[in-house]
Symmetry: C2
Subunit: 247 residues, 2 copies
DNA sequence: TAGCGGTATGCTGTAGGCAGTCGACTAAAT
DNA sequence: ATTTAGTCGACTGCCTACAGCATACCGCTA
């Protein structure tokens, strides 16, 4: 047996990724955004981020451009990068698209998922329920993402899966603070979904997934009602004051 | 009246955009790919492209990364960029996703499109039919894209529209050589679609759009049958031979 | 006093350069 | 003859430097 063969089987991801600097910067900035250290609408100065992360401007630039492509930051030519300001309409649209993609994924998964796939789904589901029961919100959210990602993967349509994954990542930005609300109900729906997939009932799987994502959407909109968002801090701005004291 | 007011009304796009170099490079490389000057699987050397386009490596790098995000090239860390090799499965999956997105767009468009939207659709449709009748394939394909883009725009869901546009651009890469086949039939379906949208019949609009995209898909697969693709030239390679004659 | 043009400043966009790394080719040993 | 170690070459990844530009500040003028 050739070494390459067994490597191909065993290690889906060959190495722990020494990771190019660019990727590390991307993740770092994403983390800064979701954690709220970088606020929506804020002007991201390349040199500042570079110094903050201890790298040169180049990786930062490239990271910002990729993040622009994924909808995390807006790139105004000649002015720089700004953290994307999520509007309510956009969140609603994003959730609608997610519902569409995931519903189709569930339908296809019901057609194509094998025994092994279902087994892995059940493992994730059990882990998620355990996380909820022990009030570990962060782990629950992560497992939720994993489960949805696995469903899309089991659809057999990798293009669909990648698109869904991209949308899901953006949704997660809004979704995280709301996750606690839904809690257990969400995982009961997951269980029902897996049952439908195992039975190969594509119609039921699609229906459950649609209901499920709609529940999440409703939950989000409800949350948004109570917390009506800051009015509109500043769509664009640039260059910080020379002497902060004088202002 | 302030100058900015009338400017805001008149010029939606303020300036003809001298465009940043990066964007120009992106379009140039896309053009090189669709025109076949850069073949699938080919190793794209940054310095060569830079010299070819008369710019520095930096804009080329950034362009390659964005193109990677859009699925045009594959970026192997430490090895460089390669033109993406489109497989049959992937094309099928892409067309399936497009069908999904555009069907939903048509459904929403039937709900939200106003008189003005329908009027613009009819204009495009007329232009497309004229193009087909005068055998102007290129113009027909372009108009086709415009019409589909307008339908997604009329859906009122900009996230959906952007996603669909991205997928459509990639589809167009495969689709262009096939476009001649479908010809007139495609535009008759367009007309029916617009009728449904005008009537506000979301179910019928969705149905027609699904049929329409499925026809395109079938047409593509059929075409692909006759021309079974080169086997698999070279998944990865690097560094061109010192003496090209020996090969 | 209010509007307007001039000037200064810092940021982005682009270019060039250097070191690390990966692949291919060559030579030696089994 | 096939495998294995060594060397060379080239390309990528990253850093630094420079030019252009957009904004903010400030003095001038009406």
């Amino acid at each position: 047996m050739l070494l390459s063969d067994q490597a191909g089987q065993a290690a889906a991801t060959k190495i722990p990724r020494p990771a190019t600097l660019r990727e590390s910067v991307i993740e770092a900035i994403q983390e800064l955004i979701v954690s709220g250290q970088l606020k929506p609408g804020q002007h991201l100065v390349e040199s500042e981020l570079a110094q903050l992360l201890g790298v040169s401007r180049q990786p930062v630039r490239e990271a910002l451009q990729q993040l622009n492509g994924e909808g995390w930051v807006d790139l105004h030519p000649g002015q720089g990068a700004f953290v994307h300001v999520p509007t309510v309409e956009e969140a609603d649209q994003l959730l609608a698209v997610r519902a569409l993609l995931e519903t189709e994924s569930a339908r296809l998964a019901a057609q194509h998922a094998g025994e092994d796939g279902v087994r892995r789904l059940r493992v994730l589901c059990a882990r998620g329920i355990a996380a909820v029961e022990s009030d570990d919100v962060e782990s629950a959210v992560a497992t939720n993402s994993e489960l949805h990602a696995l469903v899309t993967a089991l659809s057999g349509n990798s293009v669909l899966a990648e698109l869904a994954s991209q949308v899901a990542r953006r949704v997660r930005w809004y979704h995280t603070p709301v996750a606690r609300q839904r809690g257990m109900a969400s995982w009961q729906e997951h269980t029902a979904l897996i049952d439908a997939i195992e039975a190969g009932d594509e119609h039921r799987a699609a229906h459950i997934m649609r209901e499920h994502t709609e529940h999440t959407r409703a939950s989000y909109m409800e949350q948004r009602e109570n917390e009506p968002v800051e009015p509109a801090p500043k769509p664009v701005r640039r260059r910080r004051p020379r002497t902060p004291s004088t202002n």
